[in-house]
């Protein structure tokens, strides 16, 4: 899939995301001395942001509920995701995870 947003819209996204990301990075470095740290409640919530966001981001790429349970689970992308997750868990190596996932996807696509 390719975007149908025009070049100006894409550049605007690049600049706005860049500016807001910089604001996040600079926030406490800039504010130091004016506040004494992240409010504890916010800090608690921020702790779960990576896990929640990343899971919400990846899950639909691997799990595509089909008409039957078998169709849902016998999907190359889900199998590739499971293998890649196993490799990520044991090696914590991004390159190995990528290779394992892609090889599984290609193998399943060839067999099924």
């Amino acid at each position: 899939m390719t975007t149908t947003h025009g070049p100006l819209a894409v550049w605007a996204v690049v600049l706005v995301v860049g500016a807001l990301t910089f604001a996040i990075r600079y926030s406490f470095i800039y504010l130091l001395g004016r506040v004494s740290g992240v409010p504890p409640r916010l800090e608690r919530a921020l702790r779960y942001v990576p896990a929640a966001v990343l899971a919400a981001l990846v899950a639909p790429s691997f799990v595509d509920p089909g008409p039957t349970v078998a169709a849902t689970f016998l999907d190359g992308r889900l199998l590739a995701g499971v293998v890649a997750a196993g490799v990520a868990w044991t090696t914590e190596n991004m390159f190995a995870t990528l290779v394992a996932g892609m090889l599984t996807l290609w193998t399943v696509g060839f067999v099924l």
């Binding site: 899939m1 390719t2 975007t3 149908t4 070049p7 894409v10 550049w11 605007a12 996204v13 690049v14 600049l15 706005v16 995301v17 807001l20 990301t21 996040i24 990075r25 600079y26 926030s27 406490f28 470095i29 800039y30 130091l32 004494s36 740290g37 608690r44 919530a45 921020l46 779960y48 942001v49 990576p50 896990a51 929640a52 966001v53 990343l54 899971a55 919400a56 981001l57 990846v58 899950a59 639909p60 691997f62 799990v63 509920p65 590739a80 995701g81 890649a84 997750a85 990520a88 868990w89 914590e92 190596n93 991004m94 390159f95 995870t97 990528l98 996932g101 892609m102 996807l105 290609w106």
Partner: protein
């Protein structure tokens, strides 16, 4: 010959083992951006300006799906919110910097540069351990010049490698047939970032809830499944943490 400040090259050297993760990630960022229909200049521009892999991939992924621009920006910002914690944690070490430098240092702040630097700053310096806590700012000692050059060497070098990897990805991306399914590498990168996060029950629950809601809401308009999933996951994590502590 001008002398390089003490610590700079130690920082550069410390990044070398991380390049095995950084380079493929940067390649994917370049390939994915071109696959999503961005021009080479836009693809490289994204890496230069944003310099945060996960949010870059989410941005191009959502652009490819023709999500509304507000959703694209909001998602990227939500993904990068975690960096406010790094900012709070590392701020005491940058206190002596001039404003212009502290802005540059902040711009280079990433998961990897933060993890490397905070590990180095607190290593063999037991009495400053409290500074690793996000709330330790008021009691923290200022970092030494060597600490700051170490950070700058590591972070600036990773920025450079990220740009080069993106450029190679952009060049390769145009010549890779779509049937190879290379865009599948994007969720795989997220997965590789997600898995090490899954330590402790609250985080696992946050991920399970976030992922389930996102799958259930995959057909919702405006990518609300993603934002709803992220929000539900964070709430679930906080709730479970409260239960575990109680």
């Amino acid at each position: 010959m001008p002398t390089v400040p003490d610590g700079f090259f130690d920082g550069v050297r410390a990044t070398l083992p991380l390049l095995l993760g950084l380079i493929p990630f940067g390649l994917v960022a370049g390939v994915a951006a071109v696959d999503a229909g961005l021009s080479p200049a836009q693809a490289v521009g994204l890496s230069v300006v944003v310099f945060a892999g996960a949010s870059q991939l989410a941005t191009v992924d959502l652009l490819a799906q023709d999500a509304s621009l507000a959703v694209v920006v909001l998602t990227a910002v939500v993904i990068n919110l975690r960096m406010s914690m790094y900012s709070a944690s590392i701020a005491p070490y940058f206190e002596a910097l001039r404003r212009r430098w502290s802005a540059a240092y902040a711009f280079l702040l990433t998961d990897m540069s933060y993890a490397l630097a905070i590990g180095e700053f607190t290593d063999g310096d037991a009495d400053t351990d409290a500074t690793t806590a996000p709330n330790g700012g008021s009691t923290a000692e200022n970092g030494t010049p060597r600490d700051r050059w170490y950070y700058f060497g590591a972070a600036a070098f990773m920025w450079l490698v990220w740009q080069l990897a993106t450029i190679v990805g952009v060049v390769l991306g145009a010549s890779i047939p779509e049937s190879w399914g290379v865009s599948f590498a994007v969720p795989l990168v997220f997965l590789a970032l997600l898995v090490p996060e899954l330590s402790g029950r609250p985080r696992i629950v946050a991920a399970l809830v976030g992922g389930s809601v996102a799958v259930a809401g995959a057909g919702w308009p405006l990518n609300l499944g993603l934002l709803g999933g992220a929000l539900a996951g964070v709430v679930a994590g906080v709730v479970v943490e409260g239960r575990v502590a109680a």
